[in-house]
Symmetry: C2
Subunit: 594 residues, 2 copies
């Protein structure tokens, strides 16, 4: 070995690591499994990776480093790990606040904790004024200060940089950076450190959104609404057909979605006291057609065989180009489409659930208007989609409603139906998880036949005053269940997998906050396997959108996974029709096999 090696002891972990002379302490700690918060990407300007040097060399800190340490109230034995070059044996101790934030995006707990590493960051710095005849322009001085020779400065940022406030000598400015490379804005220091992002699950029927604090990784507010596009068609195929008829229709659909997202973002911002121009980033997870329409890309190729998406992954675009009223330079990222009818909503959901990371054979079932099923076997992934319709989102049900306050989301029997509503308000309607509970209960109590016929002359299932399911309502749910159930059965048959071989079933859906697994199994919505192998993770698309908002590496991972998933056509199987008709029965999956 030619190079000198040193020993780095890391406290309080008591880990000893080897380092080459000249290596950055931050890199040594990362390799040793002790990652630090490298918020400014090792540029030495955020001060978040400070550590205490207990023994070893303590070179004199540069002016900015000293100022950053002082600002955190740290003593003279502290240094920034991203600037400290290991030159001999050293003992360091990490300090509170120097390790990266981790948050969980799935509340139910099946998702892994994610390190908060958003695409948008704010860095505070004082630009050194170039001296007379120094070789730099102001843009080059900023590049030097950020140690980023390739720093991208769009015209809007240059215009700010040339404005008088930014020119005041040694007055600190805030640089809003996108992906550590592009300057979105130059703000006066007093503009504040707040950075918000918008996560959107753009469903065919339901649009759910969150306002997210991108520094803390926390949800600030939530909103849900019926997709305003429903007036142009209830399901994906009718929207595609509508858009295909006439380019103006594509614009109509687009405008409806954009306006709804803007309204939801505006309402959340108002409620939370957040200025809209502090929202710098947005992630949208929608199915392939929704993603295309929002981006203004024609869906003609989704209307005609062989049914192809125009794009799968899409680099972040200017949110203003889409029509989103956020910060003028805000970006929008669209979760990558997997295939023509398996979209970014599924890619986001898979990311949120950590579906790909765990070993074994697993099923991912997204219960949306378009139902999607992803099968994982070892490292192979296959997906299919099935038209479930909007019944679970309450759209065709006489007393149906979205899973919002006042919706019946759970039901049991105690001398009659016992209903639970979201936020414990008086029942105003029923959402998807409530429907599953009511039908399973009605089936057990003999109020409903396995063929879906309501027992008794009234042909209604009475739930409360002015709240009842009609025979038509039951038929709609029956068709939705059959679509999912036949999809799962055919998928398992296609890959010759018995239900007993399935290690995990992950169920996602925006139709309620908690799905009773036993009830879902008893009406045949989910495969008949042990309840402890099935988990319901709620609106995983929205959680995935939040994940992609909070973690840059997660975006790349989602794109890589999306590109690996193959599409399976079940409709061309000879047993397709027969299996669908069989699946119309309200009963558990057959024990033996799919």
């Amino acid at each position: 070995m030619n190079e000198q090696t040193c020993t780095v002891e890391i406290l309080p972990d008591r880990i000893k690591a080897r380092a080459k002379a000249g290596e950055l302490l931050a890199d040594v700690l990362d390799r040793a499994g002790v990652p630090l918060s490298l918020y400014c990407h090792k540029r030495g300007v955020c001060g978040k990776c400070a550590v205490r040097v207990l023994s070893g060399a303590l070179p004199f800190p540069a002016a900015l480093e000293a100022a950053l340490l002082e600002a955190r109230g740290l003593g003279p034995d502290h240094r920034l790990a991203c600037l400290y070059e290991v030159r001999g044996d050293v003992v360091v101790e990490t300090i509170p606040g120097s390790r990266p934030e981790r948050v969980s995006v799935i509340e139910a707990g099946t998702g892994a904790a994610v390190i908060v590493d958003p695409s948008v960051k704010k860095l505070s710095l004082s630009l050194e004024r170039p001296s007379l005849y120094s070789p730099t322009s102001i843009a080059d001085a900023l590049r030097a200060a950020l140690r980023t020779p390739g720093l991208v400065l769009p015209l809007a940022a240059l215009a700010k940089l040339g404005g008088t406030p930014a020119l005041a000598p040694s007055r600190p400015v805030t640089v809003v950076l996108y992906e550590d490379l592009e300057v979105l804005d130059i703000e006066p220091e007093e503009g504040g450190k707040e950075i918000f992002g918008l996560a959107v699950d753009l469903g065919t029927t339901t649009v759910a959104a969150e306002l997210v604090d991108l520094r803390a990784g926390k949800v600030v507010d939530r909103a849900a609404s019926v997709n305003a596009q429903v007036s142009y068609g209830a399901d994906v195929v009718s929207r595609i057909t509508f858009a295909f008829e006439n380019p103006d229709n594509l614009r109509r659909l687009r405008r409806a979605a954009v306006q709804l997202i803007n309204d939801m973002a505006g309402a959340m911002a108002r409620r939370s006291g957040v200025a809209r121009h502090r929202i710098y980033d947005a992630v949208v997870a929608g199915n392939t057609a929704m993603n295309h329409i929002l981006s203004g890309v024609p869906v003609d190729s989704l209307a005609m065989a062989p049914f192809h998406a125009v794009f799968s992954a899409l680099p972040a675009v200017a949110a203003a180009d889409i029509g989103l009223a956020l910060h003028p330079q805000a970006r929008m990222y669209v979760a990558p489409n997997i295939k023509s009818f398996v979209g970014g909503d599924v890619a986001a959901g898979l990311a949120a659930s950590g579906f790909a990371a765990k070993a074994g054979t697993a099923l991912y079932i997204d219960l949306g208007t378009n139902g999607e099923i992803v099968l994982k076997r070892g490292r192979d992934f296959a997906a299919t989609s099935t038209a479930a319709g909007p019944a679970f989102e309450g759209m065709t049900i006489s007393c149906g409603m979205l899973a919002v306050a006042g919706a019946v989301h759970a039901a049991s029997w105690d001398h009659g139906f016992k209903l639970r509503t979201i936020d414990d308000l008086p029942p105003q309607g029923i959402c998807g998880t409530g429907l599953v509970d009511v039908l399973a209960t009605a089936l057990r109590r003999g109020l409903l036949g396995r063929d879906g016929r309501i027992v008794g002359p009234e042909k209604k299932i009475r739930l409360a005053d002015r709240l009842a399911l009609t025979q038509q309502d039951v038929r709609d749910v029956q068709l939705a269940v059959a679509a999912i159930r036949s999809g799962v059965r055919l998928m398992l048959r296609e890959f010759r997998i018995a239900p007993a071989d399935i290690d995990r079933v992950v169920v996602a859906g925006a139709f309620g906050s908690s799905l009773d697994i036993d009830n879902a199994v008893s009406i045949g919505l989910l495969p008949n396997i042990a309840a402890d192998r099935i988990s319901f993770i709620g609106n995983a698309s929205l959680a995935g959108a939040r994940l992609l908002l909070l973690s840059r590496p997660a975006r790349q991972a989602a794109e890589d996974l999306a590109a690996r998933i193959s599409l399976v056509s079940l409709a061309t199987r000879p047993d397709f029709q027969d299996t669908f008709v069989q699946s119309l029965e309200f009963a558990p999956f057959p024990e033996g096999g799919p």
Copy 2:
């Protein structure tokens, strides 16, 4: 040596080159100094690099390669050099049309020939329709066809790609590519192969522009006009001051420039029968302040010490963002600013003249409203600027005018002034080169004293009917000459260079088509050195803008050179005032030294 090496004989050059097995023939030829036209950047889709294989392996060509060879009427012994992998000894012959086009950007002949390699290219291809459930989106199919995994597709291009015309099976489409990486547009094949670019010299006083055919490298039309910004101030400093006063003023200046460029582009397009949306690229060469104003970047930092540019090099921006009415996705590139008062016009002029490429000590003098002087000594470059004013562009001269049709651009004496006009029209006024000739002649004939006083009671130099120079006109020229002359003298003194040590003087200026060197030396505008060492290259900024339009590598070279030039402040020298006053004399430079 482990790898097999082969011999490639290249005809008609009779060059023998060695190649590693598996190397691309195109790369071998390039290394051997026989570059081929790699228009599509070795993607095998343009067919321009076809060669004849006289002996050696002839693997079966792929369908597209065969079609491209057939389209050029080439026999079965031809192959594309960018697809042909050398696997054994081979003899090849280049064929007409396969070597790259070279054009000269400087007509006077001092500039080197440049290989036409514009940023915008059109490639024709038939997209293979993805089959049912194939793993690609249409965008990915295009990436595969162009063999460019990182191909960038903005929303506008995706929208076109998703439109029905692009979807028709095996119907060829034209892809408009920027820098071989980004798709500007997808056009129907019948849209034509034409690609035009706009070169603009955005001078403080004069704006000159060219419409350029980017395939042939030829100028299609030219236009020149007074900069519409002159109503807000005659020189750079007054424009900067005006813009500094009020952000609305910056917008006014910007609008004036944008509208003028649009008018000129529109007029040229109309005259040439070129559709404006066939102009896909623009290069603007202006001084630092002009470049900032056009880009909408405040010039506050140019108004206040220490006088800094906000940006030097600027990556290409969307021309539509600037306000240029060209192709909706057209790009605009701004020639890199060197320093605060030495701008992209000089960088462009240096590029056009090949100033940096030649050895020795050389001076580059740009005779504009802002006069710039660049000194080259070996590999070191220094620049300064001097306020000459707009006299040479005819702006303050009573009978002055731009160097356009009808302007007196040369004068001699034959029993009175003998005038020559541009396009041989009746004289309507006098431009800069005409002024130099008239003053030198008047000086020789005793009509003018060396102190600038007009001899005789009339105090006029009569040139023709209704065409005369007043005493005030002569004073304006006298000040302009003194500004340039003192600048050159101080620059030489600063670097301790005697006029005899100067190997070359390159003079550029938009003020006329031909400068009489002897006359310019006799009034003291140019140093007193042998006339054969001085060359006048006309509007080098415009030629440079054209060069940067035609050659991508030239852009990088111009940026690299701009970053290497240091700025010299002559105004802080103690001999500044004295030298300026001395330089007011109409006489050759002192023989001895500067």
